[in-house]
């Protein structure tokens, strides 16, 4: 469970998992449309999407639990498409954990090594290291039934990690935990990933989890990967309206671009090069600032405050614009000195670098 193990052959950044034209049909239902995906060694990749988007199917295809309808799965340069999960250098942390109830924690963690017929001494050493990695020293002799959800989660994690897989797959790893525990486990997962290195792929429907854990996010929608990139990329440069909406709050304004100028239905117009036609302008609530009155510029819209919530670190406004669309603005608390109250006429402004235009 230390450096010598997981960082085996290849270097960080090499392609470790390569999916070629992978698709999955269940009868007439298409779970995954043909897609390509490369996972590099050292990645902490989140496959993010709403339920039913095919993300779990994709993960299970990598793990070998689902045979793809078309396409090829390569891990470390070997075609493993026809291999079952027992042969693949992947291990999975299941959503419901799937611990063995007739074994204690230590036996659960040792199971895979025992199956692989590891020599006793090495087996014991690896199991103990895995136990201490997830801080389960005091519970190692308990039965899984006697553990809390978070502790069971750690056992499941240790049971997979002790195998030193090329790729660790996690299926909604934190979904079953309560909020507090989820935060703790998030930190734990990040710590473990940086401590042992290795390649982690996890599936989630929670954008906060994806942003908080992953160094790369693949957003899925209806069986397709609609965007694949770093968290900052995905957040500040969403490729589609769906991504913009799914990751964080977004105000999406409708407009038209004609000869290098965008005219928003809500009012203002500003220069932006590109093809003529309908566009969507994505404005993040925290990229907007709010002023009581003040001169209108190109990058501003006027409206009226219809809701105002003080949240301590920020003030959340709902502002209704000229075309009756309501947008959300996260104002800094300092700006609130002006005491912008309900019904106040305001100007919402943004800077040239803080918006994103999507061609429709």
């Amino acid at each position: 469970m230390t450096e010598e193990s997981i960082v085996q052959a290849g270097r960080d950044g090499d392609v470790l998992v390569r999916l070629h034209g992978i698709s999955k049909h269940y009868g007439k239902v298409v779970a995954v449309e043909p897609l390509d995906l490369e996972i590099r060694r050292g990645d902490f990749l989140a496959i993010l999407g709403p339920s039913g988007c095919g993300k779990t199917t994709l993960l299970r295809t990598i793990g070998g639990f689902i045979a793809p309808t078309t396409g090829r799965v390569e891990i470390a340069g070997t075609d493993v498409t026809r291999w079952g999960p027992e042969k693949r250098p992947t291990n999975m942390v299941f959503q419901g954990y799937g611990l063995f109830p007739h074994m204690n924690v230590r036996q659960n963690i040792a199971y895979g090594l025992r199956i692989a017929k590891f020599p006793k001494a090495e087996l014991a050493g690896r199991v103990e290291r895995a136990i201490s990695l997830v801080h389960l020293e005091d519970l190692a002799d308990r039965s899984p039934d006697a553990l809390s959800g978070g502790q069971q989660q750690r056992v499941a994690l240790a049971r997979a990690l002790v195998m030193e897989p090329e790729v660790l797959l996690l299926d909604e790893p934190l979904a079953a935990l309560d909020l507090q525990l989820r935060k703790t486990m998030q930190e734990e997962l990040r710590r473990i990933h940086s401590e042992i290195g290795g390649t982690f792929v996890f599936v989630t429907h929670d954008q906060g989890e994806a942003l908080g854990l992953a160094n790369r996010i693949a957003v899925m929608q209806e069986g397709r990967i609609v965007q694949d990139g770093g968290p900052e990329d995905i957040y500040s440069r969403p490729a589609t309206r769906f991504v913009a909406n799914f990751i964080g709050d977004a105000n999406i304004l409708v407009g038209r671009r004609e000869s290098g100028r965008i005219q928003l239905e809500a009012g203002s117009s500003f220069g932006d090069e590109g093809q003529d036609g309908a566009v969507l302008v994505v404005l993040r609530p925290e990229a907007l600032s709010i002023q009581g009155g003040g001169a209108a510029t190109d990058l501003s819209l006027s409206g009226r405050v219809v809701d105002r919530v003080y949240l301590g670190s920020l003030v959340k406004y709902k502002v209704v614009l000229g075309d009756d669309q309501i947008i959300t603005v996260h104002g800094a608390v300092e700006e609130d000195q002006e005491q912008i109250g309900l019904e106040a006429e305001v100007n919402v402004t943004w800077s040239a670098s803080q918006y994103r235009v999507l061609d429709e």
């Binding site: 027992e86 291990n91 799937g98 611990l99 063995f100 109830p101 199971y111 195998m163």
Partner: protein, 282 residues
Amino acid sequence: MIEFLRDRRSWLLLPSVAAFTVLFLSPLVYFFIVSFWEVKSFRLRAAFTFDNYIDTYNEYAEVGLWTFGIAALIGVLTSFLAFSFAYVVRFKAGRFGPLLLFGALIALFGGYLAKVYAWKTILGTTGILNTALLALGIIDEPIKALIYNPGTVVVTLTHWLLPLAILPIYGSLRGVQDISLEAARDLGAKPWQVFGGIILPQCKAGLFAAFAFSFLISAGDYVTPRLVGGVSTTMIGNYIESLFGFRFDWPLGSSMAFSTMFCAIAILAVTNFLFFRARSRK
């Protein structure tokens, strides 16, 4: 305990406790006492003698062993078949599983005697099987060996006990999570390793319940051996029955009954020990 008695809801137990005491415990105690009595000129006489137990040991030990042997065979056979059935229902039959299970339960509606007679009708000298074989010209005269032997007893009791043995096994198999099987495969286990290391240990309790149940019922049965067992399959229950009946020797009958009971309990205790210790030490 006081709290328990004070809670009026625990009074609901009263009828069942009363029935259990009157109908089961008191006769049990009575016959246990009788087993130390003696019979003089066809009358029961209070005494305290171990003669009955000594007689039992000397004269009926062999019958007892034979009975337990058959019962154990039926227990093993029934548990095995019940496990196979429950396994298919749980893991292989998909949405037809509940239907199969329902079918097995329906089989319970046919009473015990109905099943015994059914096998008589199938295997008898003029039974369905013989008649069919004769009609097909495969045999020239009825095969008499089909019925009235230990095998018939085993077949009949196994058939009757099967649905009852399926239930506890299915119950424990239902508790086996599918993802724990996937997890085992993910950790490198081959299908037979998943079966032996994950599924089987998790349904030990159900398997043992099925075995114990079939074993006990078979060891105590005397109707089936009498109706389809023939003279070669007289089991301990038949002797006990006759001692309480026309031989009128209740003390010996009681001592045989209690010897059988204690031996059966001992056998189950040992089986239980072997069954649950052998694997969990790993």
